[in-house]
């Protein structure tokens, strides 16, 4: 599948902001299943400083700062990616990569240890099941037990709270699933990316209506890393485009920054995932 993804972020300030410093991980990552063909950044105003780096987990980051007073900031990343099609979309697909899963075994800042997660996960444990089967079942249970709701949580909501109300967004689904899997000793990491959503039958796809997405990846010795999407209760296929991964959201935040002055700020995000 060939994708063109346009991700636009726009901050508007009440009064001119004096200085804005940002860190972004918005470039699709090269994996066994996907090949980024081009990435184009467009920044308005143009930044006084810009640097790229690759982090511990292999993700690419761009740091950039705006040092002159500005009333708005628009950042557009347009990337072209080729994702290998899944022949059997309902079957797990592993990347076959062998790695040391140490960072993804224990708690991490957004994925704490708590007995509630182990209690939940224990019900899926069975000596006859492989870790992959356990993980898959847990993803399906989380999908069935939780309600997608954008009004309940923010990024500061502890995952335990989400697990109480069982209402939240894909980050919450991913963090809770990670907490359960890790409490069972199954290494699992957080993946940031996009989902190609299909318009309702007979309708045109609306530009800008897509969004960033997050899911998880489970380490299974022989298969390598296998991606699953607990928010949708499915295996990850060619409809998922990967930006990068880490222990949790905190390691692979798409865009974070600090702004000096500016008063109240408003944020608009538009994502379009286009095929062909």
């Amino acid at each position: 599948m060939n994708y063109r993804i346009i991700h636009t972020t726009r901050y508007s300030y009440e009064t001119p902001a004096a200085l804005s410093q940002n860190d972004a991980s918005l470039e699709p990552r090269r994996t066994v299943f996907q090949t980024p063909n081009s990435v184009q950044w467009s920044l308005d105003p143009s930044p006084e400083y810009s640097r790229e780096r690759v982090d511990y987990f292999g993700n690419t980051w761009k740091s950039f700062s705006f040092e002159k007073p500005h009333k708005s900031l628009t950042l557009t990343v347009t990337s072209r990616v080729d994702v290998t099609e899944s022949q059997t979309p309902s079957e797990p697909r592993g990347d076959g990569q062998q790695s040391v899963p140490d960072p993804f075994l224990g708690p991490s800042p957004f994925v704490p240890v708590s007995p509630v997660f182990f209690e939940y996960g224990r019900l899926s444990l069975n000596p006859s099941k492989s870790p992959l089967e356990v993980a898959r079942e847990i993803c399906e249970r989380i999908f069935a037990d939780c309600v997608y709701d954008t009004e309940v949580t923010t990024i500061h909501t502890p995952v335990e709270d989400f697990f109480c109300t069982k209402r939240g967004v894909c980050q919450d689904y991913a963090h809770a699933t990670l907490a359960i899997l890790r409490s069972l000793g199954i290494p699992a990491r957080y993946v940031s990316g996009y989902l190609n959503t299909l318009p309702p039958p007979g309708k045109e796809k609306v530009l800008g209506a897509d969004a960033s997405h997050a899911w998880i990846s489970v380490y299974c010795q022989d298969l390598g890393w296998v991606d699953m999407d607990p928010t949708n209760g499915i295996m990850v296929t060619h409809n998922h485009i990967t930006l990068g991964w880490g222990r949790d959201y905190g390691d692979i935040t798409p865009l974070r920054g600090v702004v000096l002055g500016g008063g109240t700020q408003t944020l608009d995000v538009e994502v379009s995932v286009l095929t062909g």
Binding site: T9, Y11, A18, L19, Q21, N22, D23, E48, Y49, R51, R53, D55, Y56, F57, S63, S65, E67, V100, D102, P103, L105, G106, P107, S108, P109, F110, T150, T154, I155, H156, V169, C170, Q171, S192, A211, S212, H213, A214, G246, R247, D248, Y249, G250, D251, T253, P254, L255, R256, G257, V258, V259, L260, G261, G262, Q265, L267, V269
Partner: protein, 731 residues
């Protein structure tokens, strides 16, 4: 040459009488108190620190062992740090469990790329030890911030001044050469290899309980002391925000812990700090010592695993080992002098080592303190060499805090604080005087004249915002209001602000100024009418003393200029508001629509200019001469003209980055005001014109204030205006 043995020194101390020892203790306490201001707000003051007369003395055999074994750790620890943030071969080869690295040691992957694996920037390491049956054991490390280094230095200085009048062994190793080498090393440590790098001490500020040490060391080394909000990152380099503009920073000696370094760094991001500074570290544009991320080395869980890394990394067995976790063996004790005489306590020692060009060196001193004691005692630690050692000292001679920095280098944040301190001090003084004057009327009240004055003055108090009009709208009367609610007085708020700001300026004002300001810390508006007068007088005297001190003792740097500009702006505003209030008040006018002499007399009184007026005019007051004296007369320190003249001269003396080819906007406004004043003819001015002028002046004073802020202070933004963006919630 006075070369003494350990036994000879010990013998000398034990032969001293209780009286002699207690005298020394007293002397040491008063020396410590002199610096007490900087011990931070939260540090417990009820446990007064004192220095034990008897140092812990190490002879040349012990020194040789320590040097060898501590330096072995010093060679090893940077390799451990470099490996953790580099190849991670310790984990891959099973010397350190991978799980422990992530779960327990809180390995921060964001530091990969910021810590140089081949040579992590480590400058000073601290080693905490005990001795168990003569055997040295390591109980802790200080790798993040070298806490205790400042105390070690202070203890040495205080100890030698208090107890060593007669006893000065020439074979006692000095600390000064170590610190001199450190300075040289820091000078050479920039990665940009600048000819004269700018080195600063980075502190969390007075809220940090450990504030004392960075203040003390910054003074000792002669480096500027800066807080996070004084620093900014522009185009990948670190700058100090000063009055003269942005000044580059090359080396930061941090007293700031890992989570407080950079809000944009790590997971979760830092809680405070300088946004983007870790990118500057990654780019090699700044050296921070010790490198952020070095805190991982001092986690207790790692300490016990270091020995097994040693053979792998340096091919040596460590001769100094960590104290086993379950070791309950008796730690060696040391005698301490207490009010009950000599008592023995288990003692912990802290040593420091520093990295120089090619090798590490141990500081020939340290701190020894009882592990458990009801007293806050510390001992100096002596390295008694076998031969005499040379003497040098780095102590500044007669340097005061305010001239450590050259004028242009004053951080904008400090100038802003000084400006507001000036404003609030002046405001408190004006309010206190006016309220006292008003209160006296209430006491002597009764005559009609006084009642009219009282009503007039109450109006002035309300118009100048010194007191609030109560919610019921009934104007307060001095006799009644006193026993009512003093919280309607602006004075309480003003005093709170003075206390808050002076807390930010601990390292900027002289010790005497802080003593005087300390008197304000407990000042409250007295609750009984009898005490009010005394309380207000006390306040006025305190402020007069403070003003006297700043006039006489403060160097005329930018700091003083900002302090005085604050005072002048506050007073200028008050002058206009007061004149306007009196002129607006109906009782100020007689039946012929002329200002009556009573209200003019009141003005002269509250402007403290009655005496001058009488010596010049010897008449009952009339409008023209009063206006001349209070508005125009540039020689009267109570007049508007005088304030404008002073402000103009201050602005002219402030540092400027570029060559002055044109007047700044604040200079233009000042010129406008003084021209208006000078062109005024007091003998013909009518009241309508006056009211217009008052409005004009008030507007201009506000503009001057804004313009000064924009030109010099706008570079600082309060911490609250920095918004952390963790938005873009994925959906």
């Amino acid at each position: 040459m006075n070369v003494l043995s350990k036994d000879a020194v010990l013998g000398d101390f034990f032969s001293q009488s209780a009286n002699e020892l207690n005298q020394g203790i007293q002397q040491s306490k008063s020396l410590i108190q002199e610096m007490d201001l900087y011990r931070g707000w939260s540090e417990s003051r009820d446990l007064e620190k004192s220095i034990d007369p008897l140092p812990w003395i190490l002879d040349s055999n012990e020194i040789a062992f320590l040097r060898r074994s501590v330096l072995q750790w010093c060679r090893l620890l940077p390799l451990v740090l470099g490996d953790l943030f580099g190849r991670q071969s310790l984990v891959r080869n099973g010397y350190l469990p991978g799980g422990l690295l992530w779960d327990t040691l809180k390995f921060e992957p964001a530091n990969v790329g910021a810590i140089l694996p081949s040579a992590p920037s480590l400058s000073i390491l601290r080693f905490d030890m005990v001795r168990d049956q003569g055997q040295w054991q390591l109980v802790g490390l200080g790798t993040e911030v070298p806490r205790g280094l400042g105390f070690a230095l202070e203890n040495r200085i205080v100890h030698s001044k208090s107890f060593l009048a007669s006893l000065k062994p020439d074979n006692l190793a000095r600390l000064a050469p170590f610190f001199r080498n450190l300075k040289e090393q820091w000078y050479k440590s920039t990665r940009t290899h600048k000819e004269s790098p700018s080195i600063m001490v980075w502190t969390l500020g007075p809220k940090d309980p450990g504030y004392f040490e960075p203040v003390y060391l910054a003074r000792y080394f002669g480096y500027p002391l800066v807080e996070s909000r004084d620093l900014t990152v522009r185009s990948g380099s670190v700058y100090l925000k000063t009055l003269g503009g942005l000044e580059p920073v090359d080396v930061l000696l941090r007293w700031v812990t890992d989570p407080s370094v950079d809000p944009l760094h790590g997971n979760p991001g830092g809680i405070t700090g300088v946004a983007g500074i870790m990118q500057a570290v990654r780019d090699g544009r700044i050296v921070i010592l010790n490198t952020p991320g070095s805190g991982i080395l001092e986690r207790p869980e790692l300490l016990h695993l270091v020995p097994q890394c040693s053979t792998y990394l340096i091919g040596e067995e460590l001769s100094l080992l960590p104290r086993p976790i379950n070791d309950f063996g008796q730690k060696d004790t040391q005698p301490f002098w207490t009010p009950r005489g000599w008592e023995n306590y288990s003692t912990r020692l802290s040593f420091f080592a520093a990295q120089f060009s090619s090798s590490w060196e141990i500081m020939p001193g340290g701190i020894a303190e009882p592990i458990e004691s009801t007293y806050r005692l510390q001992k100096d630690v002596w390295f008694l060499e076998s031969t005499a050692v040379p003497q040098i000292s780095l102590l500044p001679r007669g340097e005061s805090a305010s001239n450590i920095m050259r004028a242009g280098e004053m951080p904008s944040r400090v100038a802003d604080d000084l400006h507001w301190l000036g404003r609030y001090i002046e405001r408190a003084w004006l309010d206190a005087r006016l309220i006292e004057y008003w209160r006296q009327l209430g006491v002597t009240g009764g005559a009609d004249r006084d009642q009219e004055w009282e009503s007039l003055l109450t109006g002035v108090l309300i118009d100048s915002q010194a007191i609030q009009l109560p919610a019921d709208g009934v104007k307060p009367r001095p006799t009644l209001a006193l026993s009512k609610d003093p919280s309607t007085w602006r004075l309480s708020l003003t005093i709170d602000e003075i206390n808050r700001i002076s807390g930010n300026l601990l390292d900027r004002l002289s010790i005497e100024s802080h003593r005087i300001l300390g008197g304000l810390r407990n000042w409250r508006i007295p609750s009984t009418p009898q005490d009010i007068s005394k309380g207000l007088e006390e306040l006025s005297l305190t402020i007069a003393a403070l003003n006297g001190l700043t006039m006489e003792n403060m160097t005329r740097t930018s700091g003083w200029i900002f302090l005085d500009m604050g005072r002048r702006l506050e007073r200028a505003e008050w002058i206009i508001r007061t004149l306007d209030s009196v002129f607006q008040h109906p009782t100020s006018w007689d039946e012929h629509q002329n200002l009556n002499s009573q209200s003019l007399q009141l003005l002269l009184d509250i402007f403290d200019s009655g005496l001058t007026y009488r010596s010049r005019y010897r008449l009952t007051p009339s409008l023209g001469p009063v206006i001349d004296l209070l508005l125009l007369d540039e020689s009267n320190p109570r007049s508007l003209g005088f304030q404008i003249l002073q402000l103009t001269s201050h602005i002219g003396n402030l540092p400027r980055k570029s060559q002055r080819t044109y007047s700044s906007s604040e200079e233009k406004i000042l010129l406008e005001v003084s021209t208006k004043l000078r062109l005024m003819d007091p003998s013909t001015v009518n009241t309508k014109e006056l009211f217009e002028l008052f409005t004009f002046f008030l507007g201009k004073i506000d503009q001057i204030s804004q313009s000064i802020h924009e030109s010099y202070l706008a570079k600082i933004e309060s911490a609250e205006s920095i918004q952390l963006r963790y938005k873009d919630p994925t959906e």
